[in-house]
């Protein structure tokens, strides 16, 4: 049986694009035929659930019963990949909880593959989270995600500040999420469908839709760039599904 994989997408700062990145991950796994389940911790109404209702369950990460629902089923659940979209402010408490229940020890022992996508905002406070989160990362794959979807910058203009954050954590891998055209982003929001369905001009029920060709083109171009970043970090190898070759969603 495949080793369970848990991917946490989070940040302590709000509005940095956590759910957007989680959505691109679910689309990426779907296109690569990796069965996935997702948990949305934006309780009681989850944004991730709105875009991926079939895969996603809303949970309260601070409640023991919901922690059991996620982690006690890791070995028995049929999709071996679990994506957890952790809402703003809950990343550090969630990692603390994972350490307390022995999950991080299991990851360190190689029983579970554990990856954290830490979405960064353009503030010192957000960058300070890196050091805090890094304390939990022994045995985990730690990805620092610079999300440019909000047209932001990460102190690249001040190399000393940049290096003090991005080059301090030895085993962290940087990822870049490029900017998506605002109107295209809003149109996907309005459509409430996964990015892949929007590109394919389909509604949530797989019926033909009538999205703008221009906006679909922008989303397709952007999604291809995001996925090339996931290919670069060999995400499919990480989840144990082998090579990311020809995938359905890129046609």
């Amino acid at each position: 049986m495949a080793k369970p994989v848990v991917i946490v997408v989070g940040a302590d700062k709000g509005g940095v694009g956590k759910t957007t990145v989680a959505r691109t991950l679910l689309d990426y796994f779907s296109a690569n035929n990796v069965a996935t389940r997702a948990f949305d911790t934006e309780n009681p109404r989850g944004t991730l659930k709105r875009f991926h209702p079939d895969l996603t369950e809303i949970v309260d990460m601070t409640a023991t019963s919901d922690q059991m629902k996620i982690f006690d089923t890791l070995n028995s659940a049929s999709p071996s990949v679990t994506v957890i979209d952790v809402r703003a402010g809950l990343l550090s408490p969630s990692l603390t909880a994972l350490r307390d229940i022995g999950f991080l020890d299991a990851a360190r022992a190689g029983q579970i593959t554990f990856a954290v996508f830490h979405i960064l905002g353009p503030s010192i406070a957000s960058l300070d989270e890196i050091a805090e989160t890094a304390n939990f990362m022994q045995g985990a794959k730690y990805f620092l995600v610079k999300n440019f979807i909000n047209n932001t910058s990460f102190f690249e203009w001040d190399q000393a500040t940049y290096n003090s954050y991005f080059h301090r954590i030895k085993d962290a891998t940087e990822l870049t999420i490029p900017k998506l055209n605002e109107m295209a982003y809003e149109q996907v929001e309005v459509a409430s469908v996964p990015f892949l369905k929007f590109v394919a001009n389909k509604s949530m029920k797989d019926e033909a839709a009538n999205y703008s060709f221009v906006l679909r083109g922008y989303v397709r171009h952007w999604l291809a760039n995001v996925w090339s970043e996931f290919d670069r970090i060999k995400l499919t190898d990480l989840v144990g599904s082998g090579k990311s070759g020809a995938r359905g969603g890129e046609k």
């Binding site: 109107m183 221009v214 922008y218 171009h221």
Partner: protein, 222 residues
Amino acid sequence: MSRTPVYIICSPRPLVGKTLIARLLSEFLLLKNGTVAAFDINLKEPSLLDYLPGITETAEVDDTFGKMALMDRLIVNDALAKVIDLGFHAFDEFFKMSEEIGFMKEAARRGVAPVIFFVADTDRASARGYAMLQQQIPPNALVTVDNEYVVRGELPATMAHGRILRIAALPVFLKTYIDRLTFSFTDYLRHEKDSSTELHQWIRNNYLNFREVELNLILQRS
């Protein structure tokens, strides 16, 4: 089902004759098909809208809304030929967007046949623009326009290899004559009794060239 042609007349340089070619082509299509849709993205130069207000609408590619309004019309296989007079200021933005949204590929998939008329000049901006088009436009969809009035018979070597549409220079007095807003090429052909005049032959020759471009489109399909 036949493919719908979309003719894009462009150059990164002003005043090279884009609108003149757009006028000629629009009138030719109107004469041949009885209908044509023209789009003017050229408001900072002499404008197609001024010459053919009945069939021309303005368009812009400065913002996403404008791009949607234009491109969502162009990508439809509705058997209605389209002519775009693309101003020099919009050249880079249009083709950057076109590459990003995969216009050429989607057009081929939907039965739309874009033909790019690149009006050549001898300067650096034109060389750069042409090289950029060569990267993203299939050779059979890229036509270099050798406007004798602009390049004076010295088409740059890099542009001399693909498909070429030659537009002969007219004497200045005839150029002034056809530049009048009320002038119509087809009306001239219909009403001028003497078919041996220089202008008569010039118009017929250009119409013939456009017919060849159309024929090429049909041959490519078969």
